[in-house]
C-alpha cells in the first residue's frame, strides 16, 4: 500500500506532563489515510496519553496536532476531528444506562439526531458486522461477556464510517482465542471502511496482526518506527527486548 500521501493525523513535538511527571517529551507521529499504525511500549510510557492528546481529551502543553492537514485548536476543528474519528476504549466504555443498540447508535441518536427506528436498524446492521446477533441489541452492556462488550464498542466506533479509528488496548483482558477474533474483526472492519487506524497495545500477537507499521514509544518519545515485517530484524535493543518480552535489557520493568 502506498502511504506517501498527506497524513490524516499528525502529531508534532507533543509534550504532556502531569505535575512534575513529564510523560510525553516530544512525540512526532504521522498516519497516512488507510494506514494501520500500532504503537507499542511499556506500561506508563504514555501510549494512552498520546491518543488522548490526539483526540483532544487531554491538552498537551507544547506541540501541535493536525487532522487532515488542519491544526486542531479546539472548537470547530476538534469537532471535525471527533466527527471523523472513532475510538475503542480499553474497557469498552459502554454506557451502562443504555441498551446495546443505543450504545452502538449513540452518535446517530444524539449527534446526528436520526430517528430511533432508523438508528436501531443501523445499529443492528453494525452489530452483524462484528458477528453479534440482533437479539443482543436490547440487552444491557452488563449482560454481555468481555469479548462481546469489545465487539459492541467496535460496532460503536465504526457506525459513523470514520476516516480514522483509535484502538486502546483492544485485546486486554481477553483470552487468546477471543483476542484473535477481535483482531480479525478490527482488520476486517478497518479495511472495509478504508480508514486509518492507530492502535496501542502490549500484545505483540495483536500488533503483528493489525499493523502495517509499528512505532515504539519509550520515555515519552518515538524511538523506532518501521514496517511490521521489520519487527524481528530492527537492530534496536529496545524493540528486541519488548518483542521477546525479556526483563533484561535497556527497558526497566515497571515494578
Amino acid at each position: 500500500m502506498d502511504f506517501s500521501t498527506k497524513p490524516i493525523l499528525e502529531l508534532k513535538n507533543v509534550h504532556k506532563a502531569f505535575g512534575p511527571k513529564q510523560v510525553l517529551r516530544g512525540v512526532d507521529l504521522a498516519v497516512a489515510p488507510g494506514q494501520s499504525l500500532v504503537i507499542i511500549g511499556g506500561s506508563g510510557t504514555g501510549k494512552s496519553v498520546t491518543i488522548k492528546s490526539a483526540l483532544g481529551l487531554m491538552r498537551p502543553e507544547q506541540g501541535e496536532i493536525l487532522f487532515d492537514g488542519e491544526r486542531v485548536k479546539g472548537g470547530k476543528t476538534l469537532d471535525t476531528l471527533r466527527r471523523r474519528t472513532g475510538m475503542l476504549f480499553q474497557g469498552g466504555a459502554l454506557f451502562d444506562s443504555l441498551s446495546v443498540w443505543e450504545n452502538v447508535a449513540f452518535a446517530l441518536l444524539y449527534r446526528d439526531h436520526i430517528g430511533r427506528g432508523v438508528a436501531k436498524k443501523r445499529a443492528i446492521e453494525n452489530l452483524a458486522k462484528v458477528r453479534l446477533p440482533a437479539s443482543a441489541a436490547d440487552l444491557r452492556p452488563a449482560e454481555l461477556s468481555g469479548g462481546m462488550q469489545k465487539r459492541v464498542a467496535l460496532a460503536r466506533a465504526i457506525i459513523a464510517n470514520p476516516d480514522l479509528i483509535f484502538f486502546d488496548e483492544p485485546t486486554t483482558g481477553l483470552d487468546p482465542i477471543t483476542a484473535d477474533a477481535v483482531n480479525n474483526l478490527i482488520v476486517e472492519q478497518v479495511k472495509a471502511l478504508g480508514a486509518a487506524a492507530v492502535t496501542i497495545t502490549h500484545d505483540m500477537a495483536s500488533a503483528r496482526k493489525i499493523a502495517d507499521e509499528v512505532a515504539m514509544l519509550h520515555e515519552g518519545r518515538i524511538i523506532w518506527r518501521g514496517p511490521v515485517s521489520a519487527l524481528d530484524k530492527s537492530g534496536n535493543a529496545h524493540i528486541d527486548q519488548f518483542v521477546h518480552g525479556r526483563a533484561e535489557g535497556p527497558i526497566q520493568p515497571a515494578i
Binding site: K52, L55, G56, L57, D79, R82, R83, T85, G86, M87, F89, Q90, G91, A93, L94, F95, D96, S97, F106, A107, Y110, R111, H113, R156
Partner: protein, 276 residues
Amino acid sequence: MTASPTTKTSHIEDSLILRPFRLIGRTVLGGFREIGRIASFSGRVLFAAVTPVIYLREVLRQCLKIGYYSLPVVGLTAVFIGAALALNIYTGGSRFNAEQFVPNIVVLGITRELGPVLAGLMLAGRVSAGIAAEIGAMRVTEQIDALLTLSAKPERYLYAPRVIAGILTLPLLVLVADIIGVLGGWLVAVGALDFNGSLYLRNSWSFVTGNDIWSGLIKAAVFGGIISLMGCYQGDRSKGGAGGVGRAATLAVVGAAVLILASNYILTSIFVRIGL
C-alpha cells in the same frame, strides 16, 4: 559559602512562624478556587439547561429517578415531621393556653420551612450521592471520554437533564410533603390530642396563604438545582477508582446539605424583605 548558625536559626524560626499563615493562605485560596470551579461548572450546565438541544428523553428518565423514586422517602419524612411538630407545638402552646394554634403553626412550619428543607436534605443524601456516584463511575470507566469522542457534551447530555429534573421535581415532591406533613400533624392532633378532625383541617386551610406555599416551592426549586448540580460537579471531578467515586458521593452530600441550609437562610431573608 555556608550560612552562619544565627542565619540558620532565624530561617528555622521564620518558617515555623510563617507555617500557620501559609496554611491559612493555602486553605483560603483553595476555598476560593473551589468556589470559582463550582461557579464556572454551574454556569456551563445552567446555560446548557436553557438552550437547545435539550434531550427530553433523558430529562424524563431523570424526573422518574429523582422525583418518582424519592416519593417514599419524602413522604415518610414529612409524616413524622408533621406529627412531631404537632406534639411540640401542643406542648409549647399549652404553657400559655395557645394549644388551639397547633394546626396553624404546623401548616406554616411545614409549607414555609420544614417541607422544602427536610425534603432537600433527604434528597441531598439520596439523589446527590447517587448522581455523584453514577457520574464518578462513568468518569473512571472512561464513559465520559467516550461521550466526548462521540461529539456529545457531558454538560448537555448528562448534567443538564439531571439539573432540569431536579429543579422541576423537587417542588412537586415538596407539594406532596406539605400535604403529607399536614396530615401527619392531623393524625397526632386527632388521635392523641383530642382535636376535632374537620376543624383542624379547616383551620389549616384557612390559615395557609398562597405566599406560604409559593415560598416553599421556590425554595424547593433552588434546592433541586443545588442537589443535582453538586452531584454532577463532584461526580465530574472524581478520579482514582472506587475510592474516588466514594469520596465524590460524600462530598456531594456534604456540599449540597451545606448549600441548602445557607441558601435557605438567604431565600428566607429575601422573602421576609419582599413580603412573600
